[in-house]
């Protein structure tokens, strides 16, 4: 931790460098990304116009890639708040360097996830009917439905995370404001809501921040638990399982952490922030991956054990089919990506090797996507009535919208990087020695 110990001014300079005029590479990538978003929008337009039939969904597989994407993105959206809130409360100081970008990722992942319920429903133009409010139609919603719990859970999570995120941003925006000129200064000035770094502001700020961290902490656990109940509350064999809530939360943190690493490795390289995002941070994140990955692998085993132990023929059948049936390839891909591929992380050398980490976390991302795909699709294809068994593969439209969702996510992320400090300046300063006090390290020493 002592490694990241620079003069305060250098923090400002290095971190705010990301806000400078975009490079041609950035512009090119942004163009591609916006093109991808447009393509996804186009695909969705086709779906709105023609009907859900342009997707590969059918009877009996009513949920497919859209719900997979939804759960995947909600899962991705777990790391940020975990890092920023829970680790804040635990005073894990390694979080300070990464929490801002992780939190931004969370917000954008949840924003992406929120697209999918709308993309997924048959009459997207009526999706607002799921919001309960007194209305002249005298219609109400069904509070027994896990989907409605979802509406609340995800929206709550999104609002609290956003507020928490915005609050955390205030001092940093003020720092940007102080360096900005002209119109930018006015905008940042507005966004920094009059922050002047007075100690009374800091006192209130820190109290508020802690309060929000405490508020956000249970949400980290609740949102994915509720999402998992979309499945667990049903009576579909392969879904109906009490282990789903902890299993999904662990999986969410697992995938979220992997996504943070996947994003931060190129990020630190491109913006030359190697000295701020060090092997120490990645080591710590990898340990979290190891923990959650182990829980996930254990959950897989537990699911199989319970399927066997339950003596429930339908349950046993679906778990057998999941591994050896028509969807065996995604299943074993999932097992490899989530259980086998992360094993090298047990070696510190691997945890501190960025290339290896990058590859492993990509595997985890893929594996976690397929985990959701497996749970959703393979269970639905072979339920109780063998006459109604089916088969599902996604169509181009679904993959197009999925691609669009990734682009949508990266679009916000890229914009964020250019407009806001991606590393928390103030909190980075917290772990450095304050000026005029103690030993002041130089950049050279750190390296």
């Amino acid at each position: 931790m002592k490694e990241i110990n620079f003069p305060y001014s250098q923090f400002n300079k290095d971190i705010l460098r990301t806000l400078e005029k975009p490079s041609p590479l950035y512009v090119a990538m942004m163009t591609l990304i916006i093109g991808g978003v447009a393509f996804g929008g186009f695909c969705w337009g086709i779906q709105l116009r023609e009907g859900m039939g342009v997707a590969g969904l059918n009877h009996p597989v009513g949920w497919g890639v859209y719900i997979t994407d939804f759960v995947f993105w909600v899962g991705i959206g777990h790391a940020g708040t975990l890092i920023s809130a829970i680790l804040f409360l635990f005073r894990a100081r390694w979080r300070n360097a990464i929490f801002r970008s992780a939190e931004a990722m969370t917000i954008f992942a949840v924003m992406t996830a929120l697209l999918f319920p709308i993309v997924h429903v048959g009459r997207a133009w009526l999706a607002w009917w799921l919001i309960p409010y007194p209305n002249q139609r005298e219609l109400w919603v069904n509070f027994r439905s896990p989907l409605l719990w979802d509406v609340f859970a995800v929206n709550t999570y999104f609002s609290v995370s956003s507020i928490f995120f915005c609050i955390g941003l205030i001092p940093d925006i003020a720092a940007v404001r102080d360096r900005a000129r002209g119109l930018r200064r006015k905008i940042y000035g507005l966004l920094s809501v009059g922050w002047d770094s007075s100690s009374s502001q800091w006192r209130h700020y820190m109290a508020g921040y802690g309060f929000f961290a405490a508020l956000a902490t249970p949400l980290v656990l609740s949102v994915h638990s509720v999402v998992s109940w979309d499945f667990a509350v049903s009576i579909v064999p392969g879904w109906h399982s009490t282990i789903f809530a902890p299993y999904f939360v662990a999986g969410a943190v697992f995938s979220g952490m992997a996504m943070v690493i996947t994003i931060l490795i190129p990020f630190r390289k491109i913006f030359k922030l190697e000295k701020y995002l060090t092997t120490w941070h990645f080591d710590m994140m990898s340990r979290l991956i190891m923990l959650t990955g182990t829980i996930v692998a254990y959950s897989y085993l537990t699911e199989y054990f319970i399927a066997w132990y339950s003596d429930d023929a339908f349950e046993q059948f679906i778990f057998w089919e999941r591994a050896f049936g028509a969807y065996a390839i995604p299943f074993w891909l999932m097992v490899f990506c989530n259980c086998i591929a992360p094993l090298p992380l047990w070696f510190k050398k691997v945890r501190t090797n960025f290339t290896a980490l990058f590859i492993i976390t990509i595997f985890i991302n893929i594996g976690m996507w397929f985990e959701r795909f497996n749970i959703i699709v393979s269970s639905l294809t072979q339920e109780y009535d063998p006459y109604s068994w089916g088969w599902y593969i996604p169509t181009k439209i679904e993959m197009g919208i999925t691609l669009g969702s990734f682009c949508w996510f990266f679009m916000w992320l890229f914009m964020f990087i250019k407009f806001f400090p991606s590393l928390a300046i103030t909190e980075m300063k917290e772990i450095a020695d304050p000026p005029m006090r103690g030993k002041t390290a130089t950049a050279e020493e750190a390296a």
């Binding site: 009513g62 949920w63 429903v121 048959g122 027994r144 109780y384 063998p386 089916g390």
Partner: protein, 1016 residues
Amino acid sequence: MSNKINRRDFLAVMGLAGAGAATMSCSDPKSFEEKWHPWVEPVNNELPYVPRYFATTTPESDGVGLHVKVINGRASKIEGNPEHPINRGRLTARQQSVIQELYGLERVRRPLHNGKEITWKQARELMTEKLASTQSMAALTGPLSGAVHEFWTEFVGRFGNGTLVQYDTFSDSDMIAAGEKAFGRSEIPYFSLKGCDTVVSLGAQFLETWGDVVSNSRDYAAAREVDHGKRIHHYQVEARMSGTGASADEVLYAKPGSETLIALALLKEVSAHGSKLSAAEKGVVDGLTGNFSVEDAATAAGVSAEKIKHLAEALHNAESALVLPAERWVLGRFAAQHYTAVLLLNKALGAIGKHVNYSASKSITQVPAHKNVVDLMESMKAGNIDLLVVKDANPVYSLPSKLNAGEAFDKAGFVVAFADTMNETVAKADLVFPATHALESWGEVHGHKGIEMLQQPVMRPRWEVFQAEDQLIGFIKGADESAALPDQFRDYLKQSWTSRHGGGDKEWREALKLGGVYNMAETGENLPVSGNVSASFFSGIESLTVNDAALVIVTSARYGDGRAANRGWMHELPDQMTGVTWDSWVEMSYDYAEKNNISYGDIVSLQVNGVTVEAPAVLSETQSGDIISVQTGLGHTGLSEANNRGFNAFDLLSGELSDAGTFVAQPVQAKITKAGRSQKVATIHLPGLGDKLNTPQTVVGEKRQLDRTDPHFERNIWQAVAIDALVDHGDGHGGHGGGHHGQPVAEGFPEHVETDFYPDRSKDPVVVGRDETFYTPYKWEMAIDLNKCTGCGSCVTACYAENNLPVVGRDQVVKGREMAWIRVNRYLGYAKDEAGKTEKIYVAFLPMMCQQCANAPCESVCPSLATYHSKEGLNAMVYNRCVGTRYCANNCSYKVRRFNWFTWEWPGDTNWALNPAVSARQKGVMEKCTFCAQRLRDAKDYAKDQGRLVEDGEAVVACQQACPSEAISFGNFSDHNSKVYKLAHDKRAYRALDAHIVTKPGVSYLKRVTLGHGHA
């Protein structure tokens, strides 16, 4: 200047826009074509949206009576005529589908001359001219009865010594010949299964296509009811298990072509071991069967002699046995001999009079011989016909291609067709007069002796078209002003009818209301064996079996002779055994396919009698050995594009005629080659076929990818009980137990037995604060007797008609998106035979629709409350409230919810048949069966008007209404005297999956009763 719009401007703009919209919509010429009139003067007795039922029939309805439901002047659904002795209100799927033709894409709307539209005036002038100059006219029609026959005879008599030729693709003159040989009666008897305790069908698919399917199904189902520990025994002899064979207790897989030998062997055995023949008759019979033996028959059939002896024994031991003949397609030139043998066999069994009823026969005049149409084609080819008038016959399609009917039509002088619907023959006509559809026409159809049905128009013609006979009257009067004919055929019909039946206007109206007169004799006399038959008649009979790739044609229950190939409902109704929709296919066994390296969906070319056709191979577990089967009815070229599909099985016939004048068909060796391509087959029966090309999902570990999903019924969705288990209780009602098998529910889930899983309905917001409770006075429930269900699919089509279900098309069926609210699940079961060696395959059918669970998985998961539990026990579905999350469908354990993947279209005018009582659904909305909520509402309204509750049997749902075997019962479960309540407490009753997931379904299934011990 302000750009705000003020009120005055707003009104001006809106007025202009409104006027514009109105003008634009009026400028569409099509909307005027329909000749809309305001309902200033209401039609007599017509109330908007109040259905009226008209009794009528059509020539293609197999001699059953129809009740056509007419709403707002439009025919919207066909139900059976409950007064009719054959169908008693029930119909097959195909009989219901006629309404789709009424509004079909192929309707002819304008007179056509050489394919070009001309005016009515031009057409009439042309016709008048041709009629005036004709020297040798002929008229070719479908089978005609009564006044219609009289009229056409008169018509052809008036112009150039005309001849009248009737043509019916499936008429069988050999049966007439056999009647003549056996009993001296040139008639086709009425075969009745009523009270039958053993039926041996040598191949007749009497539950699908053979004979009077509806009465067969009804009597068969009634005979399956367990009575004092007994029920009918059904043996089916066939190589390809048919839908009828699927209901049989035993299927004898005999090689096709051996049926005549088997019949004679059975006759010999039965006669030898004491029969109901008199001594003299026995002498005659023994003289006939002397040269035949069980062993020869067994060798030819490729089965053991014991099996045939076992059959003979079963017949011998039966109290009331009936033997049905083979399908005409395998009998070849021995059809008359086979039928004679079967008639004699029935005589020996004492079935003549009781089950084979010559007092309710069809006379020779009702059975036109194919020879007549062949002769007509010959004389057309020879140029001997200068004017041909065609109506209701499609020889260009259905005559064997060897006969080249197309060429005959080209060579005929001038062909005039009176047609309601375009087809191959109409397309060949030089002049086409649009005619009214059968449902818009007057006519008369005779069925079995004593059944004379009237055909009346149920609605005004959809287009500006006229009845063929009315037009002909015009031509007759044009040629001869003094002709003593009424101006309209209706009056002609009435005159003819009243002259035959007596009575006046009142009786005529009474007959119209009833749909005709029904004086069919229930039983006939036990005719003595005539002396017409001699041993020489049976000499030369040999096996017609083919050892390799024996091609057998099967009559399609859906398309029939091809007339139903223009109807979406028939395309989308899965074939009973293979589940194939929309296409022709070549069905073969897995063994044969494996031997020839053919996989499911491979396109194979089939070469027979010099004709080659191509179709995808469909591998079937219910087809034995080297048999290849194809079905009739598709392969049209003259319909609209969507309906011209598959190949024409009639093309494969040799075109030879039997002595009686019927086309001969027998198993022939087909040359099968792989075309090197493959195709997705739109089958509904094989799970997981969807987008994964033709590879059914199966139980893991099987070497072959067979159709083996839940092969031992461990999932308990379909259940059977051995008859032994019911015997102790006498009549099979009351008591507990039954042959339950599979998962031991009580042991596995003791808590389920103890716990009442019903949600507490007293707290439900639907009733809280109101003076109402759940399930009073009604809780609608259904009971389906699996022992009676034959899997015919009539219920499916009835549901399509009643509930405005869309036809989604082949490509969507392939993707698993058919919209049927009720489907007939077909399961294959595998059991070891007695010897424990070979596996016996049996087929189980289970009609599956929304189970209206009292503890429904779908209701709780819907976020928008679009589906909820109604006070009457229905899973109500509010389409307008549905957002389309599809969670309900995922959570439905029975997979009966159907999602609108698109806003489905009704091509042509088929939307005219929509039921206004059922709302149309938009894309993105879930839909499903709600026990015909609209029918329940009608019944309740009717009862309410009379100040009482709905009585048992008063509320009838569409599937129940149509079911030919009367397997479906429906009623109020809260009324403990109702039939459905009693059936739900029958010892055979179970509720699908309820023991496992406690959904408390509102549908009780009654276990199928199998013979002997254990389960089927």
